[in-house]
C-alpha cells in the first residue's frame, strides 16, 4: 500500500514508538475529549438557560393535538403571530413556524393527521412566502433543526432534496447540542438577552390548553431585507414548483379525509403590496391561479383573501406583514363564525 502510515507496517512501527511518544498522543486525545465536554458546559453557565428551556410554541402545539381538535392552522410566521387559537370558539390549534414552506407544511400536516381524527377544517396559509421559501437549506445554513423538529418531525422526516441534503440535516441535528449553544463572543455577550435562536419562540402567554406568542416589532426590522429574501427565493423555479405540488398534495390529502380546506391569506399592512418586488407579486399571482382553480374544482376548498382587508389598520401590525396581539384578536373575531360554521358541518355535508 502506498499510503505508508496506514499500512500494517506503520501500525507495527507505531507500536514500537517510545512509550513517552504514545503517551503524548493519548494525552492529546484525552485533552480533546475533555475540552469537548467542558465546552458543552461553558455557554449555559455563562448565559444561563432562561428562555431556552421548556416547550416552545411548536412543541406545545404538537403535544396539544387531540381528538378534540377541530380546526388546524398551518403556515409561516404570519400564522404563528397572527392566529391565536384560544380566541376561537371551536377547538383550534396552530402548526406554524418561521419561513415554513408548503413542502414542510405538507410533511408536518401528514405527520400529525392521525392524531386529529375529528379534524373538520384545515386552514392553510395562502401567501407568497410559503410558496417561494425553502426552509430545509435555511435550517442547514443556520445549523438549527428546531423549526421543524419542534413541529414533531424527526430529521429523517424532513423533506430534503436528495441524499446530500439529508446527510447535512442528520449532521446538523447530530451537532446541534454544540451549535445550538450561544456563542462565546463579545457580540453574543452583548446580545445575551436574545441568546436563543431567533427561530425559537418560547411561549409568551398561557390559556388553558393553548400557547401563543405575540408579534413584536424587532428592533432591527428591515422590510427591504425581507423583500430581498423573498425576491431571491422567488427566482428558484424548482423550489416554487415543488412547493406548488406540495400544496396541491396537502389539499388532496385533507380532502381525501373529508376535511374542509380553507386557503387563508392573512392581512398585510397597506404598504406591503405596493413595496413588494415585481417577481414576488408574479409568484403570488401564480399561487392565486392555483388556489382559485382548486376552489372551483372542489366546493370543499375555500379561498379567503384578507390580504388587503380594510378592517385592519396600521396599529394592528407589528411590522408590514405580521399582526400584533390586537390584530390577531381582530382576525379571530372575523374568522370565528365562518370557521365554526364550516366545522359544524358533518362530513356528509361537506361536498
Amino acid at each position: 500500500m502506498s499510503s505508508s502510515i496506514f499500512s500494517s507496517e506503520t501500525v507495527r512501527r507505531y507500536g514500537a514508538l517510545p512509550r513517552k511518544e504514545r503517551f503524548w498522543h493519548a494525552a492529546i486525545a484525552v485533552a480533546a475529549a475533555i475540552a469537548v465536554l467542558v465546552c458543552r458546559e461553558i455557554p449555559p453557565r455563562l448565559y444561563g438557560t432562561s428562555g431556552c428551556q421548556g416547550g416552545s410554541l411548536g412543541s406545545t402545539a404538537v403535544a396539544s393535538l387531540s381528538d378534540r381538535t377541530e380546526v388546524l392552522f398551518a403556515g409561516s410566521s404570519h400564522v404563528l403571530f397572527g392566529v391565536r387559537p384560544q380566541r376561537f370558539t371551536v377547538h383550534a390549534m396552530n402548526l406554524a413556524g418561521t419561513w415554513l414552506d408548503y413542502t414542510c407544511i405538507r410533511a408536518v400536516v401528514a405527520r400529525h393527521l392521525h392524531r386529529v381524527p375529528n379534524l373538520k377544517v384545515a386552514v392553510i396559509e395562502y401567501d407568497e412566502l410559503p410558496y417561494v421559501s425553502d426552509l430545509v437549506p435555511a435550517i442547514v445554513a443556520t445549523r438549527d433543526v428546531r423549526p421543524l423538529q419542534e413541529l414533531g418531525l424527526s430529521p429523517a422526516e424532513f423533506p430534503t432534496a436528495g441524499a446530500m441534503q439529508a446527510g447535512e440535516v442528520f449532521a446538523t441535528s447530530f451537532m446541534f447540542p454544540f451549535t445550538g449553544l450561544p456563542r462565546v463572543t463579545p457580540l453574543a455577550w452583548r446580545n445575551r438577552d436574545k441568546s436563543c435562536s431567533p427561530l425559537y419562540h418560547p411561549p409568551r402567554g398561557f390559556a388553558p390548553g393553548y400557547y401563543y406568542t405575540d408579534g413584536v416589532t424587532p428592533k432591527n426590522f428591515n422590510a427591504g431585507a425581507v423583500f430581498n429574501s423573498l425576491a431571491k427565493a422567488s427566482q428558484k423555479v424548482n423550489v416554487v414548483r415543488r412547493n406548488a405540488a406540495a400544496l396541491t398534495a396537502t389539499i388532496a390529502l385533507l380532502r381525501s379525509r373529508g376535511t374542509s380546506v380553507v386557503l387563508l391569506r392573512l392581512p398585510h399592512a397597506r404598504d406591503y403590496v405596493t413595496q413588494r418586488p415585481p417577481i414576488v407579486s408574479a409568484r403570488f399571482r401564480e399561487l392565486q391561479r392555483i388556489a382559485i382553480a382548486a376552489s372551483r374544482s372542489d366546493a370543499g376548498i375555500a379561498v379567503w383573501d384578507l390580504g388587503e382587508d380594510p378592517a385592519f389598520a396600521p396599529a394592528d401590525f407589528c411590522d408590514n406583514n405580521h399582526l400584533n396581539a390586537a390584530g390577531a384578536d381582530k382576525l379571530a373575531k372575523l374568522l370565528d363564525a365562518p370557521l365554526r360554521a364550516l366545522a359544524s358541518k358533518t362530513v356528509a355535508e361537506v361536498p
Binding site: 469537548v36 442547514v140 443556520t142 446530500m164 449532521a171 447530530f174 456563542r183
Partner: protein
Amino acid sequence: MLFNSFVFIGFFVVVYAAYVVLRHQAQNVMLLLASWFFYGSWDWRFLGLMLFSTAMDYAFGRLLARVQDPRRRKLILVTSVTINLGILFVFKYFNFFAATLGGMLHVFALDPGAPLLQVVLPLGISFYTFHNISYIVDVYHERVEPTRDFVEFGLYVALFPQLIAGPIARPAHLLPQIRTPRRITYEMFRTGAWLILLGYFKKVVLADNMAAFTKPLFANPQAFHGLEVLFGLYAFAFQIYGDFSGYSDIARGLSKLMGFELMVNFRHPYFATNPADFWRRWHISLSTWLRDYLYIPLGGNREGTLKTYRNLMITMLLGGLWHGAAWHFVAWGAFHGVLLCVHRAAEPLLASLRSMAAASSVFVRRVGRAGAVFAFFNVTCIGWLLFAAPSLRDAGTLLRNTVAPALTHGRLVAVTMLCFALPLLAMEWAQERSGAAVPVVKTWPRALRLACYIAVFSAILLCGAVERHEFIYFQF
C-alpha cells in the same frame, strides 16, 4: 459543499477511507471522480464547462508534444490561451464590459441595447482557468512534459482541496506528485492536521465573527462614522485574511493528509512593511502566477523604468480584474499598482533609510519596523475599502465618514478583534521570528503545544460562528 459544512467533513472521511486502501493509480482515478463530484455538487452544469476546458487543454498539450514547428506550436498556444480566456471572458466579464460600454454610449445619448447574458458565474473558474493556462504555457516553453494520462491532467486541474479557491497550482510542482506514488509520512499527517485545525479557526472563529460587523458596514455605508468605520475596515482586513488563508490552510492540510504538498499561499501578510513585501506574502500563488505569466512576459523590469511602471500597472490592474468583474476591483488593483510604482521609485531613499537604521540600536530598529508594519497595514486597509465596498461611491462615502466626527464608537469590533485576531497575530509573529518553514507550534514544549491545540479546538467549538458563511474567494 463548503469546507465548513458537515457534509464536506462526511465527504472527506469517505474519500479518505477509500484513498488509504487504494493503490496509486486507483487513488488517482478515485480522487478525480471525487473531485468532479465535489465540484458538481454545487451545480452539475459547472462540471460540463470544467470538463470541456480540461479535455481541450489535455488535447492541446498532447498536440504540442507532437508538433515541432515553432509557428504551429505558437498557433496552438495562442489558440488554447484564447479559448481559455474567452471562456473566462464570456462567463465572468462579458456582462461587465457590455454594461460599461452601454453606460458610456448612453452618455452620448446612444442606446446600443447591448445584450446581457443570463449566465451564472461558475465557481472557481478563475482558478482552474489559470491552472490550464500555466500548463499549456509551460508545455509550450518545455518547462514540463505534457502528460499522456488524462486522469493525471484531470486531477491536476480538479484536485478538490484546491479547486475552488486555490492555491493556484503549477504543473511542474503538482503533476510529478500526481504521477508518482505518494507517501504520507507521520510528519505530513501531523502538519496537515494542525493546518486543518488552524484553518478552521481562521475561518469560523476569526473571519465569520468579523463578518457580523463588516456586513452591515458595507451594506449601509452612510450609517457608520468615525472609529466604527476604521475598526470595521480593520475587521474586514482580518475577515478576508482569515477567510482566504483559512481556506488555503485547510486545502493544504487536506492535501498533506493525502500526501500532496500544495504551495504556501500566505506568509503573515500583515507583517509586511511595504507593497512589494506584501505581495510576497499575500496570495502568493496568484502573485507569482501573475509575475511569471504576465509581468515577466511583458518585459518585467528589464526594459527601463517607465516600462517597468507600465508593466506593474498592467499586472496589478489585471490582477484586480481577476478578482471580479467590477470597477472597485479594478480600482483596488490600480491602487496596489500605484503603491508598487511609488515604492519602486522611492527605493533609493528607502535604501538610505535602511542603512541609517542598520547603524542604530536594536530597540530603534524594532520600533521602526513596528511603525512601518502598522503604517502599511493601514495603507492595506484603504485597499480593502476599495475591494469590499459595493461601489466606488460607497468607498468614497466610507472614506469620508472615517474622518467625520465620531458619532459612534467601535468598541465591540475592537474587543472582538482583540479576542480573535490578536492571538493569531501573536502566533504569526512567533512564526515570523522563528523564520522556519515548519509551524512554530511544533517547536514549542509539549505542555505549551497541548495548551495551544486545546485552545484552538475549544475556540472553534465555543466561539466559531454557527451560521454557514461562504468563503469570499469562491466568487472569484
